[in-house]
Symmetry: C2
Subunit: 266 residues, 2 copies
Protein backbone atom coordinates (compact mmCIF):
# COMPACT_ATOMS: atom_id res chain seq x y z
CA UNK A 1 0.00 0.00 0.00
CA UNK A 2 1.40 3.29 -1.06
CA UNK A 3 0.90 6.11 1.39
CA UNK A 4 0.59 8.88 -1.19
CA UNK A 5 -2.29 11.13 -0.30
CA UNK A 6 -4.93 11.82 -2.93
CA UNK A 7 -7.90 14.15 -2.56
CA UNK A 8 -10.83 13.57 -4.91
CA UNK A 9 -13.40 16.33 -5.33
CA UNK A 10 -16.85 15.89 -6.84
CA UNK A 11 -18.45 19.16 -7.92
CA UNK A 12 -22.24 19.43 -8.25
CA UNK A 13 -24.27 21.10 -10.95
CA UNK A 14 -25.68 24.13 -9.15
CA UNK A 15 -22.20 25.43 -8.40
CA UNK A 16 -21.11 24.89 -12.01
CA UNK A 17 -24.02 27.05 -13.18
CA UNK A 18 -22.88 30.03 -11.13
CA UNK A 19 -19.77 31.58 -12.69
CA UNK A 20 -18.65 33.37 -9.51
CA UNK A 21 -19.15 30.33 -7.25
CA UNK A 22 -17.38 28.12 -9.79
CA UNK A 23 -14.42 30.51 -9.94
CA UNK A 24 -14.17 30.66 -6.14
CA UNK A 25 -14.27 26.88 -5.91
CA UNK A 26 -11.57 26.44 -8.57
CA UNK A 27 -9.35 29.06 -6.95
CA UNK A 28 -9.62 27.16 -3.65
CA UNK A 29 -8.94 23.82 -5.34
CA UNK A 30 -5.82 25.34 -6.91
CA UNK A 31 -4.45 26.14 -3.45
CA UNK A 32 -4.62 22.53 -2.29
CA UNK A 33 -1.10 21.26 -2.72
CA UNK A 34 -1.58 17.48 -2.46
CA UNK A 35 -2.34 15.32 -5.48
CA UNK A 36 -5.94 15.89 -6.45
CA UNK A 37 -8.59 14.86 -8.95
CA UNK A 38 -11.76 16.77 -9.79
CA UNK A 39 -14.91 15.02 -11.07
CA UNK A 40 -17.90 16.90 -12.45
CA UNK A 41 -21.15 16.62 -14.37
CA UNK A 42 -23.14 19.71 -15.28
CA UNK A 43 -26.82 18.95 -15.34
CA UNK A 44 -28.45 22.35 -15.51
CA UNK A 45 -26.40 23.71 -18.42
CA UNK A 46 -27.10 20.49 -20.32
CA UNK A 47 -30.82 21.00 -19.68
CA UNK A 48 -30.59 24.58 -20.95
CA UNK A 49 -29.02 23.42 -24.22
CA UNK A 50 -31.37 20.44 -24.56
CA UNK A 51 -34.37 22.76 -24.31
CA UNK A 52 -32.85 25.26 -26.78
CA UNK A 53 -32.42 22.36 -29.21
CA UNK A 54 -36.01 21.24 -28.72
CA UNK A 55 -35.15 18.12 -26.70
CA UNK A 56 -37.09 17.63 -23.45
CA UNK A 57 -34.74 16.60 -20.57
CA UNK A 58 -35.98 13.36 -19.01
CA UNK A 59 -34.99 12.19 -15.53
CA UNK A 60 -35.89 9.14 -13.43
CA UNK A 61 -35.13 9.23 -9.70
CA UNK A 62 -32.55 11.96 -10.21
CA UNK A 63 -30.81 10.16 -13.07
CA UNK A 64 -30.85 11.24 -16.69
CA UNK A 65 -32.53 9.19 -19.41
CA UNK A 66 -30.11 9.56 -22.31
CA UNK A 67 -31.37 8.97 -25.85
CA UNK A 68 -29.06 9.45 -28.84
CA UNK A 69 -29.77 13.18 -29.31
CA UNK A 70 -29.37 13.77 -25.56
CA UNK A 71 -26.05 11.89 -25.56
CA UNK A 72 -24.68 14.27 -28.23
CA UNK A 73 -25.73 17.28 -26.19
CA UNK A 74 -24.41 16.05 -22.82
CA UNK A 75 -21.13 15.07 -24.51
CA UNK A 76 -20.86 18.60 -25.88
CA UNK A 77 -21.76 20.25 -22.58
CA UNK A 78 -19.89 18.06 -20.05
CA UNK A 79 -16.78 17.10 -22.08
CA UNK A 80 -16.63 20.31 -24.11
CA UNK A 81 -18.07 23.46 -22.61
CA UNK A 82 -17.88 22.79 -18.86
CA UNK A 83 -14.70 20.73 -18.81
CA UNK A 84 -12.71 23.23 -20.89
CA UNK A 85 -14.08 26.21 -18.94
CA UNK A 86 -12.91 24.52 -15.72
CA UNK A 87 -9.47 23.69 -17.14
CA UNK A 88 -8.92 27.22 -18.47
CA UNK A 89 -9.83 28.64 -15.04
CA UNK A 90 -7.57 26.23 -13.17
CA UNK A 91 -4.70 27.23 -15.49
CA UNK A 92 -5.41 30.88 -14.66
CA UNK A 93 -5.06 30.03 -10.96
CA UNK A 94 -1.74 28.27 -11.59
CA UNK A 95 -3.08 24.72 -11.34
CA UNK A 96 -1.91 22.67 -14.32
CA UNK A 97 -4.89 20.47 -15.18
CA UNK A 98 -5.95 18.02 -17.89
CA UNK A 99 -9.58 17.35 -18.82
CA UNK A 100 -10.55 13.73 -19.33
CA UNK A 101 -13.56 11.79 -20.47
CA UNK A 102 -13.46 8.05 -19.77
CA UNK A 103 -12.19 7.38 -23.31
CA UNK A 104 -9.13 9.63 -22.87
CA UNK A 105 -6.21 7.38 -22.04
CA UNK A 106 -8.90 4.67 -21.61
CA UNK A 107 -9.20 6.04 -18.10
CA UNK A 108 -12.60 4.52 -17.28
CA UNK A 109 -14.57 1.88 -19.15
CA UNK A 110 -18.30 1.39 -18.84
CA UNK A 111 -20.97 -1.00 -20.09
CA UNK A 112 -24.32 0.16 -21.45
CA UNK A 113 -27.00 -0.50 -18.87
CA UNK A 114 -29.48 -3.23 -19.83
CA UNK A 115 -33.10 -2.21 -20.33
CA UNK A 116 -35.15 -3.04 -17.26
CA UNK A 117 -38.40 -1.39 -16.18
CA UNK A 118 -36.76 1.87 -17.26
CA UNK A 119 -34.67 2.19 -20.42
CA UNK A 120 -31.99 4.72 -19.45
CA UNK A 121 -30.62 4.69 -23.02
CA UNK A 122 -26.96 5.53 -23.52
CA UNK A 123 -26.04 5.26 -19.85
CA UNK A 124 -22.91 3.41 -18.81
CA UNK A 125 -22.16 1.63 -15.56
CA UNK A 126 -18.44 1.52 -14.74
CA UNK A 127 -16.71 -1.83 -15.37
CA UNK A 128 -15.10 -3.30 -12.27
CA UNK A 129 -11.34 -2.66 -12.05
CA UNK A 130 -11.45 -0.55 -15.25
CA UNK A 131 -9.90 2.62 -13.80
CA UNK A 132 -6.57 3.20 -15.53
CA UNK A 133 -4.61 4.04 -12.39
CA UNK A 134 -1.30 3.93 -14.27
CA UNK A 135 -2.38 6.79 -16.53
CA UNK A 136 -3.82 8.84 -13.67
CA UNK A 137 -0.64 8.26 -11.65
CA UNK A 138 1.46 9.35 -14.63
CA UNK A 139 -0.44 12.65 -14.70
CA UNK A 140 -0.43 13.10 -10.91
CA UNK A 141 3.28 12.40 -10.62
CA UNK A 142 3.85 15.07 -13.28
CA UNK A 143 1.99 17.56 -11.03
CA UNK A 144 -1.06 17.58 -13.31
CA UNK A 145 -4.60 17.59 -11.95
CA UNK A 146 -6.99 15.29 -13.85
CA UNK A 147 -10.47 16.79 -14.27
CA UNK A 148 -12.84 13.97 -15.17
CA UNK A 149 -16.30 14.51 -16.64
CA UNK A 150 -19.09 11.97 -16.71
CA UNK A 151 -18.86 10.97 -20.40
CA UNK A 152 -17.37 7.50 -20.73
CA UNK A 153 -16.91 4.83 -23.40
CA UNK A 154 -17.41 1.09 -23.77
CA UNK A 155 -14.21 0.21 -25.65
CA UNK A 156 -16.31 -0.50 -28.76
CA UNK A 157 -16.35 3.08 -29.99
CA UNK A 158 -19.52 4.13 -28.18
CA UNK A 159 -19.83 7.01 -25.74
CA UNK A 160 -22.01 6.55 -22.65
CA UNK A 161 -23.19 8.92 -19.93
CA UNK A 162 -22.57 8.07 -16.26
CA UNK A 163 -24.01 9.75 -13.18
CA UNK A 164 -21.23 11.98 -11.83
CA UNK A 165 -21.74 10.94 -8.18
CA UNK A 166 -21.54 7.25 -9.13
CA UNK A 167 -18.41 8.01 -11.12
CA UNK A 168 -16.78 9.85 -8.21
CA UNK A 169 -17.46 6.96 -5.82
CA UNK A 170 -16.15 4.48 -8.37
CA UNK A 171 -12.93 6.40 -8.97
CA UNK A 172 -12.42 6.92 -5.21
CA UNK A 173 -12.86 3.18 -4.50
CA UNK A 174 -10.45 2.23 -7.28
CA UNK A 175 -7.72 4.69 -6.37
CA UNK A 176 -8.03 3.89 -2.66
CA UNK A 177 -6.26 0.65 -3.59
CA UNK A 178 -3.04 2.55 -4.27
CA UNK A 179 -3.50 5.95 -2.62
CA UNK A 180 -4.56 7.15 0.78
CA UNK A 181 -7.72 8.58 -0.81
CA UNK A 182 -10.20 11.09 0.55
CA UNK A 183 -13.45 12.09 -1.19
CA UNK A 184 -15.09 15.51 -0.92
CA UNK A 185 -18.58 15.80 -2.42
CA UNK A 186 -19.04 19.53 -2.94
CA UNK A 187 -22.30 21.28 -3.69
CA UNK A 188 -24.27 24.44 -2.92
CA UNK A 189 -25.39 23.47 0.62
CA UNK A 190 -23.25 23.29 3.79
CA UNK A 191 -23.72 19.52 4.19
CA UNK A 192 -26.50 16.99 4.70
CA UNK A 193 -29.30 18.94 6.39
CA UNK A 194 -31.73 17.64 9.02
CA UNK A 195 -34.13 20.28 7.73
CA UNK A 196 -33.58 21.11 4.06
CA UNK A 197 -34.68 24.74 4.60
CA UNK A 198 -32.27 25.41 7.47
CA UNK A 199 -28.62 25.73 6.56
CA UNK A 200 -27.68 25.53 10.24
CA UNK A 201 -29.18 22.03 10.58
CA UNK A 202 -26.11 20.24 9.20
CA UNK A 203 -25.75 16.65 10.41
CA UNK A 204 -22.11 16.36 11.49
CA UNK A 205 -21.70 12.60 11.07
CA UNK A 206 -23.72 9.88 9.39
CA UNK A 207 -23.03 6.17 9.68
CA UNK A 208 -25.10 3.42 8.07
CA UNK A 209 -27.40 2.97 11.09
CA UNK A 210 -28.10 6.69 11.26
CA UNK A 211 -28.63 6.84 7.50
CA UNK A 212 -31.30 4.12 7.78
CA UNK A 213 -32.98 5.87 10.71
CA UNK A 214 -33.04 9.21 8.83
CA UNK A 215 -34.67 7.49 5.85
CA UNK A 216 -37.33 5.91 8.08
CA UNK A 217 -38.01 9.30 9.62
CA UNK A 218 -38.15 10.79 6.07
CA UNK A 219 -35.67 13.41 7.18
CA UNK A 220 -33.44 13.27 4.11
CA UNK A 221 -34.20 15.64 1.25
CA UNK A 222 -35.06 14.01 -2.10
CA UNK A 223 -32.09 15.65 -3.82
CA UNK A 224 -29.70 14.29 -1.19
CA UNK A 225 -31.11 10.76 -1.09
CA UNK A 226 -29.36 9.36 -4.22
CA UNK A 227 -26.00 10.83 -3.06
CA UNK A 228 -26.25 9.13 0.34
CA UNK A 229 -27.69 5.91 -1.02
CA UNK A 230 -24.87 5.57 -3.55
CA UNK A 231 -22.31 6.49 -0.89
CA UNK A 232 -23.42 3.74 1.52
CA UNK A 233 -24.02 1.18 -1.23
CA UNK A 234 -20.87 1.66 -3.27
CA UNK A 235 -18.10 3.26 -1.25
CA UNK A 236 -15.77 0.84 0.46
CA UNK A 237 -13.85 1.29 3.62
CA UNK A 238 -10.51 1.69 1.86
CA UNK A 239 -11.56 5.29 1.12
CA UNK A 240 -10.07 7.05 4.14
CA UNK A 241 -12.54 9.90 4.47
CA UNK A 242 -15.77 11.04 2.83
CA UNK A 243 -17.20 14.51 3.45
CA UNK A 244 -20.27 16.13 1.89
CA UNK A 245 -19.72 19.88 2.09
CA UNK A 246 -20.32 23.28 0.58
CA UNK A 247 -18.18 24.10 -2.45
CA UNK A 248 -17.41 27.43 -0.77
CA UNK A 249 -15.94 25.64 2.28
CA UNK A 250 -13.85 23.20 0.25
CA UNK A 251 -10.41 24.56 1.13
CA UNK A 252 -10.94 24.66 4.90
CA UNK A 253 -12.68 21.27 4.92
CA UNK A 254 -10.05 19.53 2.78
CA UNK A 255 -7.20 21.09 4.77
CA UNK A 256 -8.81 20.11 8.09
CA UNK A 257 -9.17 23.74 9.21
CA UNK A 258 -12.85 23.37 10.03
CA UNK A 259 -15.38 20.70 10.98
CA UNK A 260 -17.98 22.07 8.57
CA UNK A 261 -19.79 19.60 6.33
CA UNK A 262 -21.12 16.10 6.95
CA UNK A 263 -18.64 13.29 7.52
CA UNK A 264 -19.81 9.94 6.12
CA UNK A 265 -18.63 7.12 8.36
CA UNK A 266 -18.29 4.04 6.19
CA UNK B 1 18.52 17.19 -32.31
CA UNK B 2 16.65 14.08 -31.35
CA UNK B 3 15.95 11.73 -34.21
CA UNK B 4 12.63 10.43 -32.92
CA UNK B 5 10.13 10.34 -35.73
CA UNK B 6 6.79 12.07 -35.27
CA UNK B 7 3.92 12.10 -37.73
CA UNK B 8 1.38 14.87 -37.35
CA UNK B 9 -1.99 14.52 -39.07
CA UNK B 10 -4.46 17.33 -39.67
CA UNK B 11 -7.98 16.11 -40.46
CA UNK B 12 -10.40 18.33 -42.36
CA UNK B 13 -14.06 18.96 -41.71
CA UNK B 14 -15.73 17.17 -44.61
CA UNK B 15 -14.21 13.85 -43.56
CA UNK B 16 -15.27 14.39 -39.94
CA UNK B 17 -18.87 14.86 -41.12
CA UNK B 18 -18.98 11.45 -42.77
CA UNK B 19 -19.08 8.71 -40.15
CA UNK B 20 -17.83 5.95 -42.46
CA UNK B 21 -14.95 8.03 -43.87
CA UNK B 22 -14.01 9.15 -40.36
CA UNK B 23 -13.96 5.55 -39.11
CA UNK B 24 -11.80 4.44 -42.05
CA UNK B 25 -9.38 7.27 -41.44
CA UNK B 26 -9.10 6.51 -37.72
CA UNK B 27 -8.61 2.80 -38.36
CA UNK B 28 -5.74 3.67 -40.72
CA UNK B 29 -4.22 6.11 -38.25
CA UNK B 30 -4.32 3.37 -35.59
CA UNK B 31 -2.16 1.14 -37.79
CA UNK B 32 0.64 3.70 -37.98
CA UNK B 33 3.14 2.55 -35.39
CA UNK B 34 5.36 5.63 -35.04
CA UNK B 35 4.62 8.42 -32.56
CA UNK B 36 1.73 10.46 -33.92
CA UNK B 37 -0.46 13.43 -33.17
CA UNK B 38 -3.86 14.17 -34.69
CA UNK B 39 -5.21 17.72 -35.03
CA UNK B 40 -8.80 18.50 -36.02
CA UNK B 41 -11.48 21.17 -36.24
CA UNK B 42 -14.99 20.28 -37.31
CA UNK B 43 -16.57 23.17 -39.14
CA UNK B 44 -19.68 21.67 -40.67
CA UNK B 45 -21.03 20.02 -37.51
CA UNK B 46 -20.47 23.30 -35.67
CA UNK B 47 -22.46 25.11 -38.36
CA UNK B 48 -25.28 22.58 -38.03
CA UNK B 49 -25.51 23.19 -34.26
CA UNK B 50 -25.11 26.96 -34.63
CA UNK B 51 -28.08 27.04 -37.02
CA UNK B 52 -30.18 24.79 -34.76
CA UNK B 53 -29.49 27.23 -31.93
CA UNK B 54 -30.48 30.20 -34.08
CA UNK B 55 -26.93 31.55 -34.51
CA UNK B 56 -25.88 32.40 -38.06
CA UNK B 57 -22.37 31.05 -38.83
CA UNK B 58 -20.15 33.90 -40.06
CA UNK B 59 -16.94 33.36 -42.02
CA UNK B 60 -14.38 35.74 -43.50
CA UNK B 61 -11.92 34.37 -46.10
CA UNK B 62 -12.51 30.81 -44.88
CA UNK B 63 -12.02 31.73 -41.20
CA UNK B 64 -14.73 31.76 -38.57
CA UNK B 65 -15.89 34.95 -36.88
CA UNK B 66 -16.40 33.82 -33.29
CA UNK B 67 -18.69 35.85 -31.03
CA UNK B 68 -19.39 34.71 -27.45
CA UNK B 69 -22.36 32.47 -28.30
CA UNK B 70 -20.43 30.94 -31.22
CA UNK B 71 -17.43 30.27 -28.95
CA UNK B 72 -19.64 28.24 -26.59
CA UNK B 73 -20.97 26.17 -29.48
CA UNK B 74 -17.61 25.51 -31.16
CA UNK B 75 -16.13 24.59 -27.77
CA UNK B 76 -18.94 22.08 -27.30
CA UNK B 77 -18.62 20.67 -30.81
CA UNK B 78 -14.83 20.57 -31.29
CA UNK B 79 -13.65 19.80 -27.73
CA UNK B 80 -16.71 17.75 -26.74
CA UNK B 81 -18.63 15.96 -29.45
CA UNK B 82 -16.02 15.49 -32.20
CA UNK B 83 -12.96 15.06 -30.00
CA UNK B 84 -14.57 12.40 -27.79
CA UNK B 85 -16.10 10.59 -30.78
CA UNK B 86 -12.61 10.41 -32.32
CA UNK B 87 -11.00 9.21 -29.08
CA UNK B 88 -13.65 6.51 -28.50
CA UNK B 89 -13.12 5.25 -32.07
CA UNK B 90 -9.33 5.22 -31.76
CA UNK B 91 -9.68 3.20 -28.53
CA UNK B 92 -11.87 0.71 -30.41
CA UNK B 93 -9.09 0.31 -32.99
CA UNK B 94 -6.52 -0.29 -30.24
CA UNK B 95 -4.92 3.15 -30.39
CA UNK B 96 -4.65 4.63 -26.89
CA UNK B 97 -5.40 8.33 -27.38
CA UNK B 98 -5.94 11.44 -25.26
CA UNK B 99 -8.03 14.39 -26.39
CA UNK B 100 -6.61 17.83 -25.70
CA UNK B 101 -7.68 21.42 -26.03
CA UNK B 102 -4.93 23.99 -25.70
CA UNK B 103 -5.76 24.49 -22.01
CA UNK B 104 -5.25 20.79 -21.15
CA UNK B 105 -1.77 20.50 -19.69
CA UNK B 106 -1.32 24.10 -20.93
CA UNK B 107 -0.39 22.47 -24.22
CA UNK B 108 -0.85 25.56 -26.43
CA UNK B 109 -1.32 29.15 -25.43
CA UNK B 110 -2.90 31.79 -27.65
CA UNK B 111 -3.58 35.53 -27.61
CA UNK B 112 -6.89 37.06 -28.66
CA UNK B 113 -6.51 38.63 -32.06
CA UNK B 114 -6.69 42.43 -32.07
CA UNK B 115 -9.60 44.03 -33.90
CA UNK B 116 -8.51 45.23 -37.33
CA UNK B 117 -10.72 45.80 -40.36
CA UNK B 118 -12.47 42.59 -39.32
CA UNK B 119 -13.26 41.73 -35.70
CA UNK B 120 -12.82 37.96 -35.54
CA UNK B 121 -14.04 37.94 -31.93
CA UNK B 122 -12.82 35.14 -29.65
CA UNK B 123 -10.13 33.95 -32.02
CA UNK B 124 -6.67 33.14 -30.68
CA UNK B 125 -3.34 33.29 -32.48
CA UNK B 126 -0.77 30.87 -31.03
CA UNK B 127 1.90 32.43 -28.82
CA UNK B 128 5.42 31.84 -30.06
CA UNK B 129 7.20 28.96 -28.30
CA UNK B 130 4.07 28.17 -26.27
CA UNK B 131 3.75 24.50 -27.28
CA UNK B 132 4.25 22.39 -24.16
CA UNK B 133 6.55 19.85 -25.78
CA UNK B 134 7.40 18.27 -22.40
CA UNK B 135 3.78 17.31 -21.83
CA UNK B 136 3.29 16.03 -25.39
CA UNK B 137 6.52 14.03 -25.10
CA UNK B 138 5.34 12.57 -21.78
CA UNK B 139 2.20 11.29 -23.52
CA UNK B 140 4.01 10.10 -26.66
CA UNK B 141 6.67 8.26 -24.66
CA UNK B 142 3.83 6.48 -22.81
CA UNK B 143 2.50 5.28 -26.21
CA UNK B 144 -0.44 7.67 -26.09
CA UNK B 145 -1.63 9.57 -29.16
CA UNK B 146 -2.57 13.22 -28.46
CA UNK B 147 -5.65 14.36 -30.39
CA UNK B 148 -5.71 18.15 -30.37
CA UNK B 149 -8.75 20.23 -31.24
CA UNK B 150 -8.75 23.88 -32.16
CA UNK B 151 -10.05 25.32 -28.85
CA UNK B 152 -7.25 27.08 -26.98
CA UNK B 153 -6.81 29.37 -23.99
CA UNK B 154 -4.97 32.56 -23.13
CA UNK B 155 -3.72 31.64 -19.65
CA UNK B 156 -6.16 34.20 -18.18
CA UNK B 157 -9.09 31.81 -18.02
CA UNK B 158 -10.47 32.59 -21.47
CA UNK B 159 -11.08 30.08 -24.24
CA UNK B 160 -10.28 31.09 -27.82
CA UNK B 161 -10.88 29.44 -31.19
CA UNK B 162 -7.97 28.87 -33.57
CA UNK B 163 -8.10 27.82 -37.22
CA UNK B 164 -7.20 24.12 -37.25
CA UNK B 165 -4.81 24.40 -40.22
CA UNK B 166 -2.94 27.24 -38.53
CA UNK B 167 -2.78 25.17 -35.37
CA UNK B 168 -1.42 22.12 -37.19
CA UNK B 169 1.33 24.19 -38.85
CA UNK B 170 2.18 25.79 -35.51
CA UNK B 171 2.43 22.47 -33.66
CA UNK B 172 4.47 20.94 -36.50
CA UNK B 173 6.94 23.84 -36.49
CA UNK B 174 7.32 23.68 -32.73
CA UNK B 175 7.79 19.94 -32.46
CA UNK B 176 10.18 19.89 -35.43
CA UNK B 177 12.66 21.42 -32.97
CA UNK B 178 12.88 18.13 -31.06
CA UNK B 179 11.42 15.51 -33.39
CA UNK B 180 11.97 14.51 -36.97
CA UNK B 181 8.46 15.76 -37.79
CA UNK B 182 6.29 15.13 -40.83
CA UNK B 183 2.92 16.79 -41.45
CA UNK B 184 0.05 15.19 -43.36
CA UNK B 185 -2.88 17.48 -44.16
CA UNK B 186 -5.75 15.08 -44.84
CA UNK B 187 -9.06 15.97 -46.46
CA UNK B 188 -11.68 14.66 -48.87
CA UNK B 189 -9.73 15.27 -52.10
CA UNK B 190 -6.69 13.37 -53.39
CA UNK B 191 -4.38 16.39 -53.13
CA UNK B 192 -4.04 19.91 -54.56
CA UNK B 193 -5.86 19.79 -57.89
CA UNK B 194 -4.94 21.70 -61.05
CA UNK B 195 -8.64 21.51 -61.95
CA UNK B 196 -10.88 21.35 -58.89
CA UNK B 197 -13.45 19.20 -60.71
CA UNK B 198 -10.96 16.56 -61.83
CA UNK B 199 -9.64 14.25 -59.13
CA UNK B 200 -6.95 12.99 -61.52
CA UNK B 201 -5.41 16.47 -61.85
CA UNK B 202 -3.36 16.20 -58.64
CA UNK B 203 -0.26 18.40 -58.62
CA UNK B 204 2.53 16.12 -57.38
CA UNK B 205 4.86 18.78 -55.99
CA UNK B 206 4.52 22.45 -55.17
CA UNK B 207 7.36 24.75 -54.19
CA UNK B 208 7.04 28.46 -53.45
CA UNK B 209 7.72 29.54 -57.05
CA UNK B 210 5.11 27.15 -58.40
CA UNK B 211 2.64 28.22 -55.71
CA UNK B 212 3.03 31.85 -56.82
CA UNK B 213 2.61 30.91 -60.49
CA UNK B 214 -0.53 28.88 -59.74
CA UNK B 215 -2.02 31.86 -57.88
CA UNK B 216 -1.25 34.19 -60.80
CA UNK B 217 -2.88 31.73 -63.17
CA UNK B 218 -5.84 31.50 -60.72
CA UNK B 219 -5.52 27.72 -60.81
CA UNK B 220 -5.91 27.15 -57.06
CA UNK B 221 -9.38 26.49 -55.70
CA UNK B 222 -10.69 28.99 -53.16
CA UNK B 223 -11.01 26.29 -50.49
CA UNK B 224 -7.40 25.26 -50.98
CA UNK B 225 -5.92 28.75 -51.05
CA UNK B 226 -5.81 29.41 -47.27
CA UNK B 227 -4.24 25.98 -46.67
CA UNK B 228 -1.44 26.64 -49.16
CA UNK B 229 -0.99 30.25 -48.15
CA UNK B 230 -0.61 29.32 -44.49
CA UNK B 231 1.71 26.45 -45.39
CA UNK B 232 4.12 28.64 -47.32
CA UNK B 233 3.87 31.56 -44.91
CA UNK B 234 4.18 29.70 -41.62
CA UNK B 235 5.83 26.31 -42.04
CA UNK B 236 9.55 26.30 -41.56
CA UNK B 237 12.11 24.06 -43.12
CA UNK B 238 12.70 22.06 -39.95
CA UNK B 239 9.48 20.19 -40.76
CA UNK B 240 10.89 17.27 -42.73
CA UNK B 241 7.94 16.58 -45.00
CA UNK B 242 4.53 18.12 -45.75
CA UNK B 243 1.94 16.26 -47.82
CA UNK B 244 -1.63 17.30 -48.63
CA UNK B 245 -3.55 14.11 -49.34
CA UNK B 246 -6.84 12.26 -49.22
CA UNK B 247 -7.85 11.00 -45.78
CA UNK B 248 -8.58 7.65 -47.44
CA UNK B 249 -4.95 7.39 -48.66
CA UNK B 250 -3.42 8.37 -45.33
CA UNK B 251 -1.88 5.03 -44.40
CA UNK B 252 -0.13 4.43 -47.74
CA UNK B 253 1.03 8.05 -47.96
CA UNK B 254 2.37 8.18 -44.40
CA UNK B 255 4.09 4.81 -44.74
CA UNK B 256 5.66 5.80 -48.08
CA UNK B 257 3.82 3.04 -49.99
CA UNK B 258 2.47 5.43 -52.61
CA UNK B 259 3.27 8.77 -54.20
CA UNK B 260 -0.35 9.93 -54.03
CA UNK B 261 -1.07 13.40 -52.68
CA UNK B 262 0.73 16.71 -53.15
CA UNK B 263 4.16 17.15 -51.60
CA UNK B 264 4.82 20.70 -50.38
CA UNK B 265 8.47 21.59 -50.89
CA UNK B 266 9.37 24.17 -48.27
Amino acid sequence: MAENKLKIFKLGGNVIDNNQELENFLENISKISEDKILIHGGGKIANKYLKKLGIEPRMHEGRRITDEATLEVVTMVYAGLINKKIIASLQKFGCDAVGLSGCDGDVIRTTKRKKESIDFGFVGDPDEKSVNADFLSLLLSSRLTPVINSINHDGQGNLLNTNADTLAYFVANSLAEIYSAELYVCFEKPGVLENVNENDSVIKNINFAKYQRLIEEKKIDEGMLPKLKAAFETLNSKVKKVVICSASDVFDVAEGLTTKGTVIEL
